[in-house]
Amino acid sequence: MTGSRWVVVDPDNGVPPWRQIRDQLVHLIRSGALSAGTPFPPIRQLARDLGLSAGTVARVYRELETGGLLVTARRRGTVVADLPPHASPPDPLADAAARFVAEVRALGGDEHAAEAAVRAAWSD
């Protein structure tokens, strides 16, 4: 488990849990934080850890598989797919925004708090 990444779900921030998970996973994969071949936890483990139904996590995995970000093989389980070069266009601003959103969620903030914080920081 060394060096593992994590995913955060805030049930009170108004965004559906599956979207919170999907956005964070897409960011982690596209930013290269999770490289090709990195094993993902089984659906039931992640669902149990996040207090969600297995169906919710399965939906995210399915969506990411359809988007070519994850592959599921019988023996290796679910792993990060080899992304073609065009699948991960460098976008430092989007990456920074995604990191910021994840931090805000981890701190328990919502969209309005994040916007207010950005405005305050911008005017400094």
Partner: protein, 296 residues
């Protein structure tokens, strides 16, 4: 009842001495691989330790009575108070605390590590192999004792100079309690390991991985001590029968000459199980999961 009360008071003393504090939790987390524990990690560790140690006094009080009741149910005399009952109380405390953590609903912010978690991520395979070998050896000796019952009766009947009560005491069977100990011990230890892998996370990925590892390793370590004690107890009837004679009696089969060697086996097993226990609960830094990972 008296010994149960003494055990309970001992547990209370242990609880007072080991009452978890933030500074103690900080040292605990550093020992288990977190270089710079955060305040949140210290709070989680205090709760983790408190939930387990609070169970020591009631369990140390209840286990001897439960052991007496179980022995009575199986038709055996009450077991002598000893290390086995202390190990049992500690393993059950771990098991109960992990079971409670497993059924406690997740509230508030939920954090999950993005990595598969398997039993061999939290406890070394070698430790599990050693533990299984100790349990298997204890079970094997118990079966040997069981199969040797008619032979032992015949041998004991030829002993001279002992009262019938003493000979009855010597012939008291040990196999069934040892086999029950193997089954109960293995179920408890592997139950803790399974729950340590499956229970809900603590909310902080760094300390979560460390506490899972700690629970599983301590359970396996206690399991080794438990299995070692069973292995020492398993040949006690054979050794007691051997102790009635100078040399091998005429009524004994040829294999009986090997029985005295079981004394050395007991010593060897004691060393192996104690060494294994120390090794598994004092992991090297490279074997630990972390880190200072945390959601800040």
């Amino acid at each position: 009842m008296e010994s149960a009360l003494l055990y309970g008071l001992g547990g209370l003393a242990v609880l007072l001495v080991l009452w978890p504090t933030r500074s103690g939790a900080n040292r605990f987390l550093r020992r288990w691989g977190i270089a710079e524990p955060t305040g949140q990690q210290e709070s989680i560790a205090v709760r983790y330790l408190r939930n387990r140690r609070l169970l020591y006094p009631p369990l140390l009080f209840l286990v001897p009575s439960a052991a007496d009741a179980l022995a009575g149910l199986l038709g055996f005399p009450p077991p002598e108070p000893g290390l086995l009952q202390s190990y049992a109380a500690l393993i059950i405390a771990l098991l109960l605390a992990e079971a409670v953590a497993a059924v406690r609903p997740v509230r508030g912010l939920r954090v999950a590590a993005l990595a598969p978690r398997r039993w061999h991520d939290v406890v070394p395979r070698t430790a599990v192999v050693i533990l299984l070998a100790l349990f298997a050896a204890a079970a094997l000796l118990a079966v040997v004792d069981l199969l040797a019952q008619p032979v032992l009766r015949r041998v004991v009947s030829s002993a001279k100079g002992y009262s019938p009560e003493h000979l009855d005491h010597v012939l008291r069977p040990t196999a069934v309690p040892v086999l029950a100990g193997v089954v109960i011990g293995a179920a408890a230890v592997f139950g803790v390991v399974r729950l340590a892998v499956r229970r809900a996370p603590t909310g902080d990925p760094g300390s979560d991985a460390v506490l899972r590892t700690r629970s599983a390793r301590v359970a396996v370590g206690l399991g080794m001590a438990w299995a070692g004690s069973l292995l020492t107890a398993a040949p006690s009837r054979l050794l007691a029968v051997d102790g009635l004679f100078d040399g091998v009696p005429d009524t004994a089969p040829a294999w009986f000459a090997a029985v005295p060697a079981l004394r050395w086996l007991g010593l060897l097993v004691f060393v192996v199980s104690l060494g294994g226990w120390m090794w598994v609960v004092n992991p090297a830094k490279r074997d630990l999961p972390v880190s200072n990972e945390g959601v800040r």
